[in-house]
């Protein structure tokens, strides 16, 4: 029996990380301080559910922007896979390579699946102070949609004001 995953819960400090987004650029969590960040961990580039899920998020970038929120996707795939995947699917947000050491960031957020060697399909909304506000793990084959993300962003906007 697969243990139910327990992602890093609300109220915890979101561990900082720095991962490659292109062959010569990296993205760190700290650089988004002051703004909400949506972390979308997904198992693998190219799998059907991932593609639908990320296409939906691409469609919602203008909505996320209304909250001044940044979206980043994270998987264990390497940077060249990410680049080809983003180009093929018209994705215009950073896909970070949690590739070496493999899955290290997923592990710190407690969403790594060691049997499969990929991350869970997990969502985190992190506030401007770098604290987890909402986290959710979806069954790997199921697209979690975006209603949870928007609710969490609504909550942040109500508390802090823009």
């Amino acid at each position: 029996m697969h243990q139910p995953p327990t992602p890093l819960p609300p109220g915890k400090k979101a561990p900082d990380f720095e991962l490659p987004s292109t062959p010569d650029q990296t993205v760190s969590l700290a650089e988004f301080r002051g703004r909400p960040v949506i972390l979308a961990f997904y198992p693998e580039d190219w799998s059907p559910v991932c593609s639908d899920q990320l296409a939906l998020y691409q469609e919602l970038l203008p909505e996320f922007r209304k909250f001044d929120a940044e979206l980043v996707g994270i998987s264990v795939d390497g940077i060249w896979s990410h680049l080809a995947f983003a180009k093929d699917r018209n994705l215009h947000f950073p896909l970070l390579a949690d590739f070496e050491p493999k899955g290290e960031v997923a592990r710190t957020y407690r969403v790594y699946r060691s049997n499969e060697g990929t991350s869970e399909r997990a969502l985190f909304v992190i506030d401007g102070d770098g604290v987890v506000q909402w986290s959710y793990v979806s069954p790997v084959g199921i697209n979690p949609g975006a209603d949870g993300i928007l609710r969490a962003l609504d909550g942040l906007a109500r508390e802090g004001g823009p």
Binding site: P9, D52, E59, N143, G145, L150
Partner: protein
């Protein structure tokens, strides 16, 4: 806030004044579809919904809302706006059917042809498409779907609750019949 799951419910109730509806307002079952005209799964669901409607008759009210995922389907937004432009002339369902029956031909020229076939005033149809008159309506549908937990297309709601089971004829019909008898 928590990590718990919630039931996916339709956040924008069906309104006779705004929605595209087939079937009586007092039908015991309302089936809402969020669909994309270029999505092949929606194309596959199209004849199934027709069959379900034929079998249930007045016991079913069917509602269609737009959910174009343009990132994957470059013609879906224009097609949705075309259906809304037809709706402005009282011919939503005729255009809806033409779009799903010609899913692989959704360029602007094609939309113009369907508008002619449906018998629309094509001058105002073309103008409304060019000016994106109906884009706001399509976006309103889309965001109502996102807020209701639509995670891909088609997504169905049966009496306001997301239907997560298969939409093959037998399974969908069974679920609707069960909802009708409750």
């Amino acid at each position: 806030m928590s990590t718990t799951q919630w039931a996916a419910l339709l956040t924008m109730p069906v309104a006779e004044s705004r929605d595209h509806i087939q079937g009586p307002a007092d039908a015991p079952v309302t089936l809402v579809e969020y669909g994309d005209y270029e999505c092949p799964y929606c194309g596959a669901a199209y004849p199934i919904v027709k069959e379900v409607q034929a079998r249930m008759g007045d016991r079913l009210r069917f509602v269609f809302r737009n959910f174009p995922i343009t990132t994957s389907h470059p013609h879906a937004e224009r097609a949705a706006e075309a259906a809304e432009a037809a709706a402005a002339q009282g011919s939503f369902w005729e255009m809806h059917d033409a779009l799903y029956e010609n899913q692989k031909r959704l360029r602007d020229e094609d939309l113009h042809v369907y508008a002619e076939q449906v018998g629309l005033d094509v001058e105002s149809f073309d103008q409304e498409l060019a000016e994106h008159v109906h884009a706001a309506r399509v976006r309103e549908d889309f965001m109502s779907g996102v807020r209701s937990g639509v995670n891909g297309t088609p997504t169905f709601y049966v009496n306001g609750t997301r239907y997560d089971d298969s939409y093959d004829l037998d399974t969908l019909l069974g679920a609707l019949e069960e909802a009708a008898s409750n």
